[in-house]
Symmetry: C2
Subunit: 595 residues, 2 copies
Amino acid sequence: MSGRVTNDIETDVTRSPSSRHHLENLPYVHKVGLPPKQKLLKEFKSTLKETFFHDEPLRPFKDQPKSRKLVLGLQALFPILDWGRDYNLSKFKGDLVAGLTIASLAIPQDIGYAKLANLDPQFGLYSSFVPPLVYAFMGSSRDIAIGPVAVVSLLLGTLLQKEIDPSNKVEYQRLAFTATFFAGITQATLGVLRLGFLIDFLSHAAIVGFMAGAAITIGLQQLKVELANNTHRSFILGLSSDYQIHCKGKKNRKWFWVPAIAPLISVIVATFFVFITHADKHGVAIVNHIKKGVNPASANQIFFTGGYLQKGFRIGVVAGMIALTESIAIGRTFAAVKDYQLDGNKEMVALGTMNVIGSMTSCYVATVITPLFKYTPNAVISSIIISAVIGLIDIQAMILIWKIDKLDFIACMGAFFGVIFVSVEIGLLIAVGISFAKILLQVTRPRTALLGKLPRTSVYRNINQYPDATKVPGILILRVDSAIYFSNSNYVKERILRWLTDEEEQVKANKQARIQYLVVEMSPITDIDTSGIHALEELYRTLQKREIQLVLANPGRAVIDKLYASGFANLIGEDKIFLTVADAVLMYAPKTEEP
Amino acid sequence: MSGRVTNDIETDVTRSPSSRHHLENLPYVHKVGLPPKQKLLKEFKSTLKETFFHDEPLRPFKDQPKSRKLVLGLQALFPILDWGRDYNLSKFKGDLVAGLTIASLAIPQDIGYAKLANLDPQFGLYSSFVPPLVYAFMGSSRDIAIGPVAVVSLLLGTLLQKEIDPSNKVEYQRLAFTATFFAGITQATLGVLRLGFLIDFLSHAAIVGFMAGAAITIGLQQLKVELANNTHRSFILGLSSDYQIHCKGKKNRKWFWVPAIAPLISVIVATFFVFITHADKHGVAIVNHIKKGVNPASANQIFFTGGYLQKGFRIGVVAGMIALTESIAIGRTFAAVKDYQLDGNKEMVALGTMNVIGSMTSCYVATVITPLFKYTPNAVISSIIISAVIGLIDIQAMILIWKIDKLDFIACMGAFFGVIFVSVEIGLLIAVGISFAKILLQVTRPRTALLGKLPRTSVYRNINQYPDATKVPGILILRVDSAIYFSNSNYVKERILRWLTDEEEQVKANKQARIQYLVVEMSPITDIDTSGIHALEELYRTLQKREIQLVLANPGRAVIDKLYASGFANLIGEDKIFLTVADAVLMYAPKTEEP
């Protein structure tokens, strides 16, 4: 292997004869590639594919016989048909242990979460039974636990009680089912239409802030409940349980999976203690009214007409999106750690179906546990919730966000304080708003950079990043760091002219050579649209007035195509388009400059 | 000047000793630049500046004494104070001729435009008098003509008549004034808050389609009016006038400025003819009821309370934005041709103030012309409007859009057919919708490319664009063409893994060397946020599982900063970050490969 790779040869043959002599001793020249024309339909299909099917859900179906396609299709919809065939007793044993462990954590939590949503405790239990069953058939993540979560319960509670007073139980429950139904419909629809990427619009930073804010709100609310109970024993019970779980909570997200039955033990001990001592008669508030037996179907309770239909729909859409954000984020984390692909859209269909079925048939079989939970002190439930939500406050993540991106940190804090000091909805609105503002900034204000030559190389880099890079006299080299679209075309044009004006002032002050060439490094300009071409034309005309030549370096595949299609390449002259900045400089730099 | 520029030397010193021998005969090595840390406040200020003050409106104020700053400030608000001092008789003569020319075109047009908005003809005249006066004091474009325009008039008419029946004249006029007032407030507010870039979100293509659709709608409407009149004479008059102006219309946008008094002559001839022959008594519909005299102030007619306040506000915001889009686009075109900078935000303040004053005090002084116009046949007005709007159908632009960007063309056609077959609002909605969808696509689905080495160079380019570029065995080189933000971080990660899977399949089929290194060319990645860093981490972990090394080439200023801040640079190893792809290949390519 030779240590030398020569770069002196990336030059264009289509140059004017007057400057041909520069190239005489070059062994090889390379033109800017004009890619083969794509057929319109093909181009369109590829755009559609990248937008909606970038994960190639149909790849396994390729070149398969029809009967196999049917099987694969069913397996895609119901992954249990795939993994179920290899399921055996030893796997079942493992799952049973895991299931009991999770249940020990989830059941008391779910009772509490139902309270956050202003619902009777049994609904928490219903929700931790049917949905996981549906998910077991349709879901593709092996690692996520299904059931109500704190933030969504709180959000649902806040939104529902704005419409109906929770004391009006029947109507309130009906609206809750309606919202759940539409949350499911929303999720499934997003999945079927392959619009799953929409949930990516809630940025990580915003979610961190929102979750932390919601956690503190929930925590304070629970603490208030505990303190309001005002009984010595209840408070101590609560604190002791709190302490136990808090320790585990510090071990971070993984603690859901640690075989920790501490919460259930707290619950059992406390319940037993209350049951023996009749503490409920002496002031310890208990869960009490958990309904026994299998719950009747609730499909008939969903509002399909009337004013509440619209309200339930609105609440459902919001709650459904937030629930998705949470579950997809968690699912993705596990998928990355264990290296398997998670089809976000398929997941959404599974989660959506699960919620639709849940809203209609949430049945109740945990008869054995019910009488036991009757005597569980509310304080224990509260402290379990507090411990669970404390895990949502991710200080490490916040510090990292602060370090990486200050704008992200503002989004994070905006959502955080919005939830704490105003309301869950406002916090959410702030989070979405700042996330969108960031996208707005990205698409309207792309970065531009002044390039200089790194000493003893032919590499041109941002002068700000490489302070030893030097400018080429008489040539201003700029790089535009984004596709040029209607949303930024005017900014890009004006920003380039500002660089030019700044540079001209400096050149004048230092009595250097007048700027004669403006080289635009186009490598990062991945695409350009009609507005972008117009902006380039306007730039070209303005430069003409100032007697400065516009030179382009390394336009990409899509850009070179459009430069020719629009006639812009002919307008500025094909000989003004180079493969690299080095080539352009080689052509136009004053000869006295080189050694 | 030497024809040879060597590139063999852009290499990093921080490499592992085992591969140091590659570099032994290299004269010089260059590290990836870690830019000097910016102070937080400075960074924040610079972001703010680029977002809202990228055009540096305060540049002339720098280093000036206070009194001078005051003068400059007043001149910025009222440019007339600047250019007015050099105004002289000879300039006035030129302006007088230009003014009369424009008036000859504008006055009959404006009467027609008022009709599009379902208003009495005198309001068209009012609107072509006061607003230009205000603009003369505050505006900074020397080339645009102020007055009602066809599309905005039509839009206003459509939106207003949905709320109040135009036959209810007083209320309808009041709502029109209210809408105008809030249109002005919207425009001025956008300007003062420097949010002018928001109008850039209506893409050029969408505007072309919308305008053409509106033009055809207006044209058909006018034709219907003419045909409904059903009088032989009126129709002939109309057609003759139409023909005259249509010819000029073909000369394209410039015809507004051609000293063409044809329309006024048509009007005068036709009016005179009708006046002499009493044709109005024989069935020729005439303008008739133009009010004489100075109009009373209309400030008291604006709805500042009640239900119409909200409706007027909503209509005003929409109409104000559309009006802005049109005037800023025209202003920019002229600014580019004549090479002067137009401060979009300052323009908006001027236009807004103009509309606010217009809505409150539209007075009427054209008494001389009024009795004359009384006998103008409606057909002439109609045909003048038709001629004017035909100029809005820019077939050339549509063809260019088709050539450059098929998605843009869809936006254009969507707006076009939306306006024609549904309504002005739906057309507008489609235009905005498709424009936003395009932005969505841009920020969620950035392009990625597989790179290969151009023969006999050290330049790596898209294999699709340069078919002679060759892959390096055992190394997969990819380029991501966008900043990695929360909106696309998952897609980017998954897309990279898909490239890898595709390549591995191919390598396996061809029995080539296993892929051991994945080089990501980061030049176009201008920024990365917390979600982006997370995606990279997930990518790194997945690659680790597959025993593939992740290598980065040329991270930019912001990116290298964040790679270090987040600890990612240490995670993958600093020696995995190179200045160029060529450097990385030089380090990792199998030695037997090179000649």
